[in-house]
């Protein structure tokens, strides 16, 4: 199974995002799955949002998503598409849509929206989701996957004052093999400690729960500006916590990894790990 991670700019202009995502799709038409960054179609914290939903742009976002998923269907590529959406309840969510053969197979809505001590952040733009999502990457339904969006994964303390509930435990208990993570977290100023925080979280949780973590981050800042300081690498991390493939340190890039998912088992003895996979432990018998 081929999985492609796209580290791509997230522009303010909707049509730029539309064109960019179609370009990435065409350039990776041989892949099985393509994952894009958080809000890669709508723009980050741009309509549809809580105070701005009933406008032309919301309709344009919906149309763009439909055209991109149709093109993905024509190419035979399955999509994990990050975008703000207006859901059936009429409210805006920060979402990852799982499109398979033109069908919306699964929809994840970001749960840990950013906010400061006194509110603000993404809470001013979206409603939070409340439940995890589960879907299979293959038609035989043997590889289970789930989604997280940015702060859901690493609960950056300055924007997650209630802490990090470690939703990963729930996903691991439900036998998730592959976790898709989309993000949009590049500040205007570089923050070396935050970069280590984000990347170390990806590696530790991948290893502790023996999951493949597939991360697609934005190549632009949260204000849709060019930046050379990405706050978290994009790429694929194996169940041993090591990077299998990594996008370059700045700018637009993509990596494709062919994954052969090994069976997973619980570690019996007390250890720093909870789960492992066959083949990555020489002592397994």
């Amino acid at each position: 199974m081929k999985i492609t991670v796209s580290q791509q700019p997230v522009f303010k202009e909707l049509m730029d995002n539309h064109a960019c995502t179609l370009d990435v799709l065409e350039a990776n038409k041989d892949t099985d799955w393509l994952i894009t960054p958080e809000c890669s179609i709508s723009g980050y914290c741009l309509p549809p949002t809580l105070n701005n939903m009933f406008n032309v742009r919301t309709t344009q976002v919906q149309n763009s998503i439909l055209k991109i998923k149709d093109r993905a269907k024509e190419l035979g590529v399955k999509l994990a598409l990050g975008s703000g959406i207006k859901d059936n309840d009429g409210f805006p969510y920060n979402a990852m849509m799982i499109w398979d053969n033109g069908n919306l197979k699964s929809l994840y809505k970001k749960r840990i929206l950013t906010r400061g001590w006194e509110g603000g952040g993404e809470r001013h733009y979206y409603l939070p989701g409340h439940v995890p999502n589960y879907f299979y990457l293959d038609d035989e339904q043997t590889i289970k996957a789930s989604s997280m969006i940015c702060n859901d994964f690493w609960g950056m303390p300055r924007v997650a004052p209630e802490g990090n509930p470690y939703y990963h435990h729930e996903l691991a208990q439900n036998n998730v093999d592959v976790l898709f993570v989309s993000s949009n977290c590049n500040g205007e100023e570089p923050d070396a400690l935050a970069k280590v925080w984000n990347e170390n979280h990806l590696q530790v949780f991948a290893r502790e729960f023996a999951m493949y973590v597939v991360h697609a981050g934005s190549a632009t800042s949260i204000n849709h500006m060019e930046t050379n300081e990405l706050q978290c690498a994009s790429g694929v991390i194996g169940p041993d916590g090591e990077w299998i493939a990594k996008c370059k340190d700045s700018g637009m890039d993509s990596v494709t990894v062919e994954l052969d998912i090994l069976p997973r088992y619980k570690v019996v003895k007390a250890s720093g790990h909870i789960f492992k996979r066959m083949g990555d432990d020489e002592d397994f018998d």
């Binding site: 609960g155 303390p157 300055r158 997650a160 004052p161 209630e162 802490g163 990090n164 509930p165 470690y166 990963h168 435990h169 691991a172 208990q173 400690l193 935050a194 280590v196 925080w197 170390n200 590696q203 530790v204 949780f205 290893r207 502790e208 729960f209 916590g241 619980k266 007390a270 250890s271 720093g272 790990h273 909870i274």
Partner: protein, 256 residues
Amino acid sequence: MKISTSQQPVYSDMDKNLATIIDVLDSTTDSDWVLTPEGSLSGYCSNVCHESTEKQKQEYFKVLNELETYLQKNKRSIALGTGHIEQDGFPYNQIRYYYQGNLIAAYNKQLLTKTAQGGLGEYYYYLPGQTSLEVEIAQDFTVGSLLCNDAWAFPSASPDGNPYLWKDYTQSNCVFVSANCSTDELDTTIYTWHENHLQLHAKLNKQYVVVSAATTDMVGNPVDFVQAPSGIIGPDGEWIAKCGHKGSDIATVEIE
């Protein structure tokens, strides 16, 4: 004010622990405060726990009495990591604050380790604390208290997540972190997890962080590495003084 933090072994033998602590105190006579690792007197998850015998309890209170006598006689101030049986008769994993020989406060570890697989980790040994503790260790200088997993909630030992107890200390000048977290082998990813949590929270709260970790593994055997750093981090999140990567060491910083 001079603060020292000690990177030192934590044995299951309490007499050896007492001797180690007194050595550290003797070599930091010009320090105003000294921080020691988690369980540094009692041993980690041993001697003072739910299943400890009367003999173990008596031995613990004997060495504690000897240490308290030393502190009184020498007017020393220490933030002592140790298991302790409180007046309710239950064991807690504590940082005990002695100011010039007198006990002024005690913090009980809140985020005891446990696993999602039914393993209870430190719950087999201690009761969890319920509240955070800020202590004024000098005039207009307050410190918050965290013990090991309180500071970083390691995922496989924290199925309920990380509540970021640091938020209880946003107004503190400093946070003391007493740790004991080495396993059989050095794991650089886990070391980074620990170090990054300390640095990022120091920077976020704009406060000093003083950390003291053990040079032994969690059953008291010496190891030639540390799984968490010891030293003092400044309010900018950068290290001011850091102990060596292995073996006993002391870091001291003068804080205005």
